[in-house]
């Protein structure tokens, strides 16, 4: 049994989903109520691999909302993640992916210190951030979508925004080791971490966002923040491939220009329909087949019975681990979303 811990993208979204699903007690409530709301299993899922193997899973709604971070309800935010994890474990789920902000909150607020949740002792090897698969899928999107748009990586400059994060650093490692990208631009807020990454890679230019974007043929956006960032498409190269791997995804609606191709990053398509309701709720274009790669990682771990926290901690994703998850991703019929 695999699990997915997810949440909705805003209070307004949460209220409309609660209304649509017929939970009036939740639909009319403000942020205070959501800060007290318990986790719930709201969907059961059946996934069939192209090998014919079938697995079952559960979707745990954590009731976290990004507004909790924006309004500094930090304790509520951390409780949502920990309580959803305890809920998943109590329901006997073998491997659960921490979707959306869940893994970011877990890492950022050092929630590994909290082992005991009421009468449950959290077993962290039952959870995965899913970041290895997300990073792998983003890299494949860079390789394949650039080809679709006629951008030759051997002559291209790739800017990675959020380069020092768990996913960003893994993307840099892969692009360095597995592609012939001409130039890598590294963008992040923390200068010390940037220099460490540059030293590890032995290449890459450290630039600020304003300077980097106009030089890039491909932009990989993997910074996660509660609020989006304005990007002026007129200052970007034409053509430019912009892979929005951040959370929540909002660049496509903000950046609209014929020469700029925005691709939802870290999204996979499955070859067969998945029996679930939840992806239409999170507004995927093809809800029966498209999903976040981090969620797909828990499915892959379940298919392969690799009951371990495959992706865990910060900046530990190696190219070899990406290869390993990539092979089973292809084996079971997942492929990266393309333009």
């Amino acid at each position: 049994m695999f699990g997915l811990i997810g949440h909705l993208t805003s209070l307004e979204h949460a209220q409309s989903v609660a209304k649509e699903l017929g939970y009036p007690e939740y639909a009319d409530q403000g942020l205070d109520f959501w800060c007290s709301a318990p986790p719930q299993i709201v969907d059961t899922i059946k996934v069939t691999s192209i090998t014919g193997q079938t697995i079952e899973g559960k979707y745990v709604e954590s009731c976290f909302l990004p507004e909790m971070l924006a309004t500094r309800r930090i304790k509520a935010a951390t409780r949502k993640v920990i309580n959803a994890m305890a809920h998943a474990q109590k329901h006997g789920i073998n491997i659960t992916a921490l979707g959306g902000f869940s893994s970011i909150i877990f890492e950022n607020f050092n929630l590994q210190q909290i082992r005991q949740v009421r009468n449950v002792k959290l077993e962290f090897d039952r959870f995965t951030t899913g970041n290895t698969h997300t990073a792998y899928i983003i890299c494949r999107q860079v390789e394949q979508a650039s080809q679709q748009l006629g951008i030759e990586l051997s002559k291209a400059t790739v800017a990675v925004c959020g380069a020092t994060g768990d996913i960003g650093s893994a993307v840099c490692r892969w692009l360095d080791a597995r592609t012939d990208v001409a130039e890598l631009l590294l963008i992040a807020r923390n200068q010390e971490r940037l220099q460490d990454l540059q030293a590890e890679l032995g290449r890459g230019k450290i630039l600020d966002l304003e300077e980097a974007l106009p030089q890039a043929d491909v932009i990989v956006w993997v910074a996660s923040m509660p609020k989006g960032v304005e990007i002026d498409p007129l200052r970007l190269k034409q053509p430019c491939l912009l892979i929005d791997g951040g959370y929540p995804k909002n660049l496509a609606t903000k950046v609209q220009h014929p020469g700029v191709h925005v691709l939802n990053g870290g999204i996979v398509e499955h070859s067969l329909d998945i029996d679930w309701r939840i992806m239409s709720i999170v507004n995927m274009d093809v809800p029966a087949r498209q999903l976040f790669a981090c969620f797909a990682e828990s499915m892959l771990l379940e298919f392969e019975k690799w009951y371990t926290n495959f992706s865990w901690g910060r900046n530990r994703i190696t190219v070899e681990k990406m290869d390993q998850i990539g092979q089973v991703s292809v084996k079971h019929g997942f492929r990266p979303l393309l333009v």
Binding site: E25, S36, Q40, L69, I74, A76, R79, I104
Partner: protein
């Protein structure tokens, strides 16, 4: 990403803390005393489970003594008058149901609502308690799970017959709990316990209990949030 604020040190001997503690401690003592009496009433109503229920009643009495010791340890006199007033409506509802031999309603009030609330409150209290009270409370919370379990098992075994009465009893009694919680929100905050955390832990525990008894997720979401926004 915003940062987590460092939690402030609690001064267990400040006048402000002790004033709040005099009410919270009294509520806990009174709650355990009423639980003792309620399980004795239930033992009469459910003769087949008499020995087990008297055993639970005895544990509640022991808990009361433990919490009295916590008050003495901090040199606080519990405000028992406040606590009796605090529980009065829930107490009346239990008495009325008991007089009519409504076992299901009595079990919902004592074994589900009160036990779930006690478990939630004790779990939230443990990390912010003084050393003496922490040890006592850790011991108590383990027992409370077994009390909750008694109600769950009985109601599960009689689910179809009990369902309608459980829904009615939930509507009558859960709103009282939210009002009681609001009444002590400031005092709980002084002790380092946040209201939204208390509500969340209660809903988790209560939801689990309802699920074990046989209610669906949809029922649970409706029942466990009943009356919260109006309180």
């Amino acid at each position: 990403m915003p940062q987590l604020e460092a939690s402030t040190e609690i001064d267990f001997y400040s006048a402000h803390y002790q004033d709040a503690y005099s009410r919270i401690n009294a509520i806990v003592i009174e709650g355990e005393q009423e639980a003792f009496e309620n399980y004795q009433s239930l033992a009469v109503m459910l003769p087949d489970s008499k020995d087990q229920l008297l055993g639970l009643a005895k544990m509640e009495s022991r808990h009361r003594k433990g919490f009295e010791a916590c008050g003495r340890n901090l040199k606080v006199t519990p405000d028992m008058e406040f606590a009796q007033q605090f529980f009065s409506r829930l107490h009346q509802n239990f008495q009325a149901a008991s007089a009519e031999n409504k076992v299901v309603t009595c079990l919902l009030i004592q074994s589900l609502i009160i036990e779930c609330f006690a478990i939630a409150a004790y779990n939230i209290y443990i990390p912010v308690a003084d050393d003496f009270a922490r040890k006592i409370t850790e011991g108590v919370v383990k027992d409370e799970y077994s009390h909750l379990n008694f109600g769950e098992e009985w109601l599960k075994a009689n689910f179809e017959a009990a369902k309608a009465e459980l829904e009615t009893a939930n509507r009558q009694n859960l709103p009282l709990v939210w009002q009681m919680l609001n009444q002590v929100e400031d005092d709980a905050h002084t002790l380092g316990m946040e209201k939204d955390a208390l509500v969340e832990d209660f809903m988790i525990q209560y939801g689990e209990a309802l699920s074990n008894i046989g209610f669906t997720t949809r029922d649970i979401m409706r029942m466990s949030a009943y009356g919260l926004s109006a309180a």
